[in-house]
Each structure stands twice: as structure tokens, then as C-alpha cells.
């Protein structure tokens, strides 16, 4: 974890050019160290503070005092002695490191950045850059940190946030600089869609299409706006056009198949969903929709599709739905025992839904 890195062992060796520490100050330093060993931070702070008074030119004394405050998570109190330590020892790695963390913890991201950069603390540096609006730099440094700690949830979280922030910054730039381009309208439409402002989203997509009708993805996105509003006939028309524009796009084929399925056009839906499956195999949603499309006309094919969903999904809600669909097929065929077993699986996966 990032925070755990705060508690590094500090180098206590005097830094180059630093004045010699008088014996009484050294005694206070030792008393502080002993108190810290016994986790008596208040006593340690008192001792370190006396050491700084006895040896005001000692960077180590200020560094130890700052570190003791850090141990108490009193970052505000830690900052002044750490800054003083750096004035006395400008190249002190632990002082840069601790001050960078203290400043970041207090929300002074811009101030923290040079200190964290100096010591190559990529994780904390990335976080500070994210908070300072430098999303692109943040992504670079967080990715570096993840090389060392690939399973760190904090790093993954901040990398995700940085990605979103970069996307947002790019979008803002696009919208403010090129609002009347096809991409500008598309970006605006996406914003409206997220905000559930569907009429505005449709208008923006239509303007984008008017400017660049050849742009891949526009019809797919506009079709999804219509699909959200259950306007399946219009969605079908757009998905069909997208599928024609991008015959190799599995998603376009899936969306078209789903729109056909929602309208009860089972045969056409099955054909399109099979095509999507051939373009991109083992997509659970595609297979599930294919199963539904074939449940009445080709129950054996539907069974295969649902079984594959169960294999792929392993206990997810979609696997539960596939069990439910299988039970429906077998119930219809009079295979009541088999249907009962599948219903048991369904109940096991989705007990709250099945048993109100």
C-alpha cells in the first residue's frame, strides 16, 4: 500500500555539509529513538523537539521530529520540521519522501509533486498529479508503480480515476475547441446519454451523422439511445446500417440481433446473433440472446447456447438466467425432472429473486 510506504526506515546518518550534533542534543535524539521503540510518540516528540532546540542546524533532529509526527498521523505538524530538514539537507531522500507524503496527505498536491518526483515515489506522485489535474502524467507514473505492485488496489483505483479524468479532459477540449465537428457532436451526445437526456443525445448524434455519415460507431451509439427508449424498430434500422458499414463488427451484429429479438423476429435475430458469434466467439450476452432466439424453433441449438453461457459465466446472474431458460425449454418438452433440477440451479444462484 501507498500509505505503508510512509513508515520506511530513516537514514540517520548526518548529511553532507551538516554541522556536528552536540552531545546533549545527541542524548535527546537517543531518548527520542528509545521512546519511539516503546511506541511512546509524545515522549519522542518532546525529546526530538529539544534536540532541534539544542542543535538547530541538525537536519537529522528535524527529520526525526517530522517522522514522529508522521507516525502520529499528524501531517500538519510534520510539515514544518520536514521543510526545515530539507533546508538544512536539500538532498535528503527521506526528508523529500516524508514531506511529499505529508503535503499530499494535507491536500497540497502541487507542492508534493517535486518531492515525490525527486525520490521516484511513482505511486504517490501519480496520485498527486491526478489531484493536480495532470491526468496524463499521473497515468504514466501509476503504471510504473503498478509494475512493482501489480495487485495494489489503491494504485488500480487511482489509475482508473486518472483514465476517467484524462478522458474527461480530452472531451472538454474537444467540446470547447471543436464543438461543430462530427466528433464534437458525438462527444456531446455521449454526455447527454449518460445524463439520460435522450432527446438531446439523439439530436447531437443526428448532427454528427449529417456531418460525417461514414463515421463508424455513430449509428451504433444512436441505435442504443433508441434501444434504451424501447424504440426497437428505429434501433434496428440504425444497427442494420452500422452492420452494413462494419460487417466485421461483432457488436454491431449483436445489437442488430438483439433489436430483432426484442421485436419477436426470432429467425432473423438468430441469424444475426450467429453471425456475431462467428465474428467474436464466446461472448456470453450474444450466446444468451441466441438461445432466446432459438428456444422455440431450435431448442437443441438453444440448449447448447445456454449451456455455453453457464460454462462461461460460472454462477453469475447471467448463468442463473441461462438455467432458468433451460428449465423453460425442458418444461415445454415435458422433461419436468430436468426442468426442476435447472430451477434448483437457478434458485441457488438467484435465491432472493426466486423466493420473495
Amino acid at each position: 500500500m501507498i500509505v505503508s510506504a510512509l513508515w520506511i526506515c530513516l537514514l540517520l546518518q548526518p548529511q553532507g555539509g551538516e554541522a556536528a550534533v552536540p552531545p546533549d542534543a545527541l542524548a535527546q535524539l537517543q531518548a527520542g529513538i528509545d521512546a519511539e521503540k516503546h511506541r511512546d510518540l509524545d515522549t519522542a516528540i518532546t525529546a526530538y523537539r529539544q534536540a532541534t532546540e539544542l542543535a538547530p542546524g541538525s537536519g537529522i533532529a528535524f527529520l526525526r521530529l517530522g517522522n514522529a509526527f508522521m507516525s502520529k498521523r499528524d501531517y500538519a505538524q510534520a510539515i514544518p520540521p520536514l521543510k526545515r530538514a530539507l533546508e538544512l539537507s536539500p538532498s535528503s531522500v527521506p526528508a523529500h519522501q516524508l514531506l511529499g507524503f505529508a503535503l499530499l496527505a494535507q491536500g497540497y498536491a502541487a507542492e508534493a509533486i517535486p518531492h515525490l518526483d525527486f525520490v521516484h515515489e511513482y505511486g504517490a506522485l501519480g496520485i498527486a498529479q491526478l489531484q493536480n489535474g495532470q491526468a496524463a502524467e499521473a497515468i504514466e507514473n501509476l503504471q510504473k508503480a503498478l509494475v512493482k505492485n501489480p495487485s495494489d488496489p489503491d494504485l488500480l483505483y487511482y489509475l482508473s480515476r486518472a483514465g476517467t479524468a484524462l478522458s474527461s479532459q480530452s472531451l472538454d477540449k474537444l467540446l470547447s475547441t471543436f464543438p461543430n465537428t462530427a466528433r464534437g457532436h458525438q462527444a456531446a451526445a455521449q454526455n447527454y446519454f449518460v445524463l439520460k437526456m435522450y432527446p438531446q443525445a439523439k439530436k447531437e448524434y443526428e448532427q454528427a451523422l449529417a456531418l460525417r455519415g461514414d463515421l463508424p460507431g455513430l449509428r451504433l451509439e444512436l441505435g442504443q439511445v433508441y434501444a434504451t427508449g424501447f424504440e426497437w424498430d428505429k434501433a434496428e434500422e440504425l444497427f442494420r446500417a452500422e452492420a452494413k458499414l462494419q460487417p466485421g463488427n461483432a457488436e454491431a451484429a449483436y445489437r442488430l440481433g438483439d433489436a430483432l429479438l426484442q421485436q419477436g423476429k426470432m429467425k432473423e435475430a438468430a441469424a444475426e446473433l450467429k453471425r456475431s458469434d462467428s465474428l467474436h466467439e464466446d461472448m456470453s450476452e450474444t450466446l444468451y440472446a441466441l438461445g432466446r432466439a432459438e428456444a422455440s424453433s431450435a431448442p437443441e441449438d438453444a440448449e447448447r447456447a445456454f449451456q455455453r453461457v453457464i460454462e462461461l459465466e460460472k454462477g453469475s446472474p447471467l448463468a442463473g438466467q441461462a438455467y432458468f431458460a433451460l428449465a423453460g425449454i425442458h418444461r415445454k418438452q415435458g422433461k419436468t425432472e430436468q426442468a426442476a433440477k435447472e430451477m434448483e440451479e437457478y434458485r441457488r444462484i438467484q435465491p432472493l429473486r426466486a423466493r420473495p
Binding site: W232, Q262, R331, R353, A354
Partner: protein, 567 residues
């Protein structure tokens, strides 16, 4: 097809407005049919028009507190209370709410503005408000009105009215002289709490109509909550309140009912019941029950034939969507839409999922076919309540009509793609696949109840819907050229209404009932569209077990079939 067999004239008589000029011989077909059973592609032409004399407003009194009952009311019944051959209209009103409600809680139902209303149809097609003279005015200040069920529970030949409320329900006995008497206390059917839809049916085939009442929530004004936020408060979802059990009343035959919810097994299942419909889905001769539940599994109560029921929806495949997800079941129709002789279920619900069709596969199994049936393209961003499966274009295939409108009166502030007020849905059945039809109006309303019947006896099914804070809507079917037949059952050994009978013409089957939809009660007459067919055989399996066949029945008439004495 050649119609040769003469009818038993003792058992059939004309009822229609045309009967004055129709000769008895015209009932019998003695000629070869010219047409085949190819349905004409005509669509019904609904004329949406006010009915002269009907001045009702459904006063639900919405408040900022979002008391849940405010958004759930609006029953309507089509019944011939005075047996003059013309359908009359009964409309349930809600009540006055204060904002906030103050204890003791009163809904001011004594004030005429909040009365339920009975409108008698005159011979000229106009209506007269006969509420007061019928004794149906004040429905009780502590009752907030919900729905209505109609059935002749005492087999005296006059339809009785049961009104459901948040509060105490009321059973009005039809005295046969144009008046009704509140017999709730004697009958023992007041229930209490929050009742929603109800229906009469004969679950034990003893010839006496029993009563089923759906119950929504364990809710009260004191327990009410407001969800959403301060700027946009909204009604809380049903999951915020405990589920409750439905009620089954057994008709003892002496004017009293016994609550058999526990011994029958009905009370064993708690849910959020809204709509209810009846049919014998497995052909065992006993009527089963389907309850549309809101955000709970749907309930299919299989009638075991021994006074008990087993809830089988999940294992029968009629509890969830095709994806195994719960639905917000509101209204329900339980009829055979694909002419395979087996009753199917259509459940309306809230947006983001289509209305669900549970297709009856036989051997007690259903399959959810919301997409195959075409409802995926017709619903999904609408909210359905009252619903009927009726043949509006008389082509021999039952179509669907749904009263629509969202639960939240401020839903637009949450989702701009949804609307509180919505036009109704007319879905035309094209060989088992539903396609959008023209309901005659795109005017959006907060639709709730819906009742179906032939208001003007022209052989074409009309619709009455209710909407919150508004007048009822009347969809008068102006018809076309296709043929039809409308049958009134007269049970003798079976219950007088013939509820529970299975009536078949060709491949078409109807299950005799006035129940279904949401909060509402339909014309009890059984209507069949015949397309180009001019002469048919009617097969009836009565609840008594008697099978009766009436051959050579000419199209385009109203007939009464009395239950034969012998099987």
C-alpha cells in the same frame, strides 16, 4: 361446413336489440357457408367519445405526502343490473385526501363528489345516474375506493356488486327492483386493510359463486412513507411495506361467506397482489387463479379440486419473465390468445420490461413469451394496468387492450423518457403475434381500470377505462364487416352466471368470467369474432361437468344458452 342441425329452441333465445325483427328461424343455419375461416384484416375503429349522461370524475386527491393509495384507484364494471339487455356502468371513486391526513382519517365519501356511481343505460344509448335511487351513494367515510367485482352470488338472476376499498369492502345485493342493499355485515366479506381487485368464481363447483380478493400491502396512513427527495417526493415501492396474503371467501349458499384463506392454502403465500383472473389452465374441471403481483413472483394457484390450492407459478413457468426476473405485475387477462384451446396469461407491468405473455404449453406448463408474442416492441417504456384479451376486429383472434399511465405523477422529473400520462395500447392479434393497432386516441391519461363489453349491442367489443383525476374514457368500437356471436350463459346446476364454463367455437375458446383486468369487472357475456364464418357449433363444458353442444348457430346474434339438465 354445412349447418343442418336444428337448435333446441327452448334453450336459446335472442337478446339483442335486433331481436324484435329477428325470426326464430333465423337462428338456424340451413345453408352452406360461403366464406372460409380466413380472418379479414380489418382493424376496429374506436371512436373515443363521452357518453351522454356519464359525468363521473375519479377523484383520487393526490398529495405531497404521496400516500400510496392515491395512485392505485379506479375500478369500473360493465353489468346489466336491471336485466334490460343493455350494459350499465358502475364506476368506483376514490376519496378526499388531506395533505397531510389528520387522525381520525376520513375520505369524505358521504359527499356526492366522492360517491361511486351507477349509470343506467337508456334505450337511446344515453345514461342516467341512478346511484342514489339504487342505494349505492355513500361508500363510507373510512373507505378509500379501489375496485369492483360483479357476480350473481345468490343465483337470483340479478348481478350483485362487490366494491373493494382501502378500509372495509362492501357487498351490495341486487334486490331485482333497481335497488341494492349493503349486506356486507351479514355476508362477512368486509375484509379490512387494503383490498385491490376481486372476482367471483366457483372454485368448488357447488353452483354458488365464491369470492377472491387480492391484497396489496400491509399499509396504513400511519405507516405511510415518502420516497424520492424533498424536491421530487415519490410513492414508495411496494418492497418498503410488508407483503400480505389474499383472501378467499367460500359461499355457504345462505347469503353468508366463510373466509377459507387459511384452510384453502391461499393465505400460505404472501405477495403484493393487484390483478386477479380465473381460468382452468390444466383442464381438470376446476377453476384456477392467477394473481398479478407487484415486484414479487406472480402467483398461479392451482385448484386441487378438494377445496385447497397449491401455488405453482415458479415451477409452472408463470412467475417471472423469460429472463428469470421479477415483474411489477399490475393487471392480468387469462384467456386463450393463440386459439390452441388453452388459456394463456397476459400480465401488464411497469416500464423497462415488456408486458409478459405466459403461453400455456399444456401439461401444466407455461412459457414466458413476451418477445415471441410481439409485446417487446409494444411495451417496455409504458406502464400497463387494466387489460383485456378481446376480439376487437372479430377476426377470430383475441386482441389486447391496455390502460396505461405511470405510477408516479412526477415520473418525468426522474426519467425524461417516461410519462405519467400515456395513451392506451391496442395490440392486434395477427395469428398469435401482436402488432400495434389504432386505439382511436393518442390523448395521454393516467389510465388505471379497464372493462370490456359490448356497450351498444352491435356485436363489437367496446372499452371503458378510468384515469386518475379525470373522466372515464369510452372507446366505442364502430366495427366492420366480420361476423360475431355473443353468448349469455344461464347456469342451472352450475352457478347462474356460468362462470368457469369453457365455451368453444371452432378453435376459439373463452372461459366464462367477468373478472380479470385491474380493479374491474367485464361484460359477462361471451363474445366470439367469427371472421367470415356465418354458422357455428358452440360447445360448452359447464362447471357442473355437463357438456353441451349447440349446433347450427347463425352468426351476428346474441343468444342465451341454458345449462341442459343432462350431461
Amino acid at each position: 361446413m354445412r349447418c343442418r342441425t336444428p337448435l333446441s329452441m327452448q334453450r336459446i333465445r335472442l337478446l339483442s336489440a335486433r331481436m324484435a325483427t329477428a325470426s326464430v328461424l333465423s337462428l338456424v343455419c340451413t345453408f352452406t357457408l360461403l366464406g372460409q375461416e380466413v380472418p379479414p384484416k380489418s382493424e376496429p375503429v374506436f371512436q373515443v367519445t363521452p357518453l351522454h349522461g356519464v359525468d363521473f370524475t375519479l377523484r383520487n386527491s393526490p398529495t405531497s405526502r404521496k400516500y400510496l393509495i392515491e395512485t392505485m384507484s379506479g375500478g369500473v364494471a360493465l353489468l346489466d343490473y336491471n336485466n334490460d339487455g343493455l350494459l350499465d356502468i358502475f364506476l368506483v371513486n376514490a376519496g378526499r385526501m388531506r395533505d397531510p391526513m389528520i387522525n381520525p382519517f376520513r375520505f369524505d365519501r358521504h359527499e356526492p363528489a366522492y360517491w361511486n356511481r351507477l349509470y343506467r343505460q337508456n334505450k337511446d344509448g344515453s345514461f342516467a345516474d341512478v346511484t342514489e335511487q339504487a342505494g349505492l351513494g355513500n361508500a363510507g367515510d373510512t373507505n378509500y375506493g379501489m375496485g369492483v367485482a360483479v357476480g350473481d352470488y345468490d343465483n337470483d338472476g340479478y348481478p350483485d356488486i362487490y366494491v373493494t376499498n382501502f378500509g372495509k369492502n362492501i357487498l351490495y345485493h341486487n334486490n331485482g327492483d333497481g335497488t341494492f342493499t349493503d349486506v356486507t355485515a351479514k355476508a362477512g366479506v368486509a375484509a379490512g386493510g387494503w383490498s385491490v381487485s376481486a372476482g367471483f368464481f366457483d372454485y368448488d363447483n357447488d353452483g354458488k359463486l365464491d369470492l377472491f380478493v387480492t391484497r396489496y400491502l400491509d399499509w396504513s396512513i400511519e405507516k405511510s412513507k415518502t420516497c424520492g427527495n424533498e424536491q421530487a417526493p415519490m410513492y414508495c415501492p411496494p418492497g418498503e411495506f410488508p407483503a400480505v396474503a389474499n383472501i378467499l371467501y367460500h359461499n355457504r349458499g345462505d347469503g353468508t361467506f366463510e373466509d377459507v384463506s387459511v384452510p384453502s392454502g391461499i393465505a400460505a403465500k404472501k405477495g403484493h397482489g393487484l390483478g386477479v383472473a380465473f381460468a382452468d389452465y390444466d383442464g381438470d374441471g376446476y377453476t384456477d387463479i392467477f394473481v398479478a403481483n407487484d415486484v414479487t413472483n406472480q402467483f398461479l394457484f392451482h385448484n386441487n379440486g378438494n377445496g385447497t390450492f397449491t401455488e405453482t407459478a415458479l415451477d409452472a413457468g408463470a412467475a417471472l419473465t423469460n429472463d428469470g426476473k421479477m415483474l411489477s405485475g399490475m393487471g392480468v387477462a387469462f384467456q386463450d390468445y393463440d386459439n390452441d384451446g388453452l388459456p394463456d396469461v397476459l400480465v401488464t407491468q411497469l416500464p423497462h420490461q415488456p408486458y409478459v405473455v405466459y403461453h400455456n404449453e399444456g401439461h401444466g406448463a407455461f412459457s414466458a413469451q413476451e418477445l415471441e408474442s410481439g409485446f417487446g416492441a409494444l411495451s417496455g417504456k409504458v406502464s400497463g394496468w387494466g387489460v383485456g384479451l378481446e376480439d376487437f376486429d372479430n377476426d377470430g383472434w383475441k386482441d389486447a387492450f391496455v390502460a396505461q399511465g405511470h405510477v408516479f405523477d412526477n415520473v418525468e422529473s426522474y426519467d425524461s423518457s417516461l410519462s405519467y400520462r400515456e395513451p392506451p395500447l391496442l395490440a392486434m392479434n395477427r395469428n398469435g403475434h401482436f402488432e400495434r393497432g389504432d386505439a382511436g386516441s393518442n390523448v395521454p391519461v393516467a389510465g388505471r381500470g379497464a372493462a370490456f363489453g359490448d356497450l351498444n349491442n352491435d356485436g363489437w367489443i367496446d372499452v371503458v377505462t378510468t384515469s386518475l383525476g379525470d373522466h372515464p374514457q369510452f372507446y366505442l368500437n364502430r366495427g366492420g364487416k366480420a361476423h360475431w356471436l355473443t353468448i349469455t350463459l344461464h347456469g342451472t346446476k352450475s352457478n347462474r352466471d356460468g362462470f368457469g364454463a369453457r365455451v368453444q367455437i371452432g378453435k376459439q375458446v373463452r372461459f366464462a368470467t367477468a373478472a380479470g383486468s385491474y380493479l374491474s369487472s367485464n361484460d359477462k357475456r361471451l363474445h366470439f369474432g367469427l371472421g367470415s364464418v356465418e354458422c357455428v357449433t358452440v360447445e360448452i363444458r359447464w362447471p357442473s361437468g355437463i357438456h353441451q353442444t349447440v349446433k347450427g348457430v347463425k352468426a351476428d346474434q346474441f343468444i342465451v344458452v341454458q345449462e341442459s339438465a343432462q350431461p
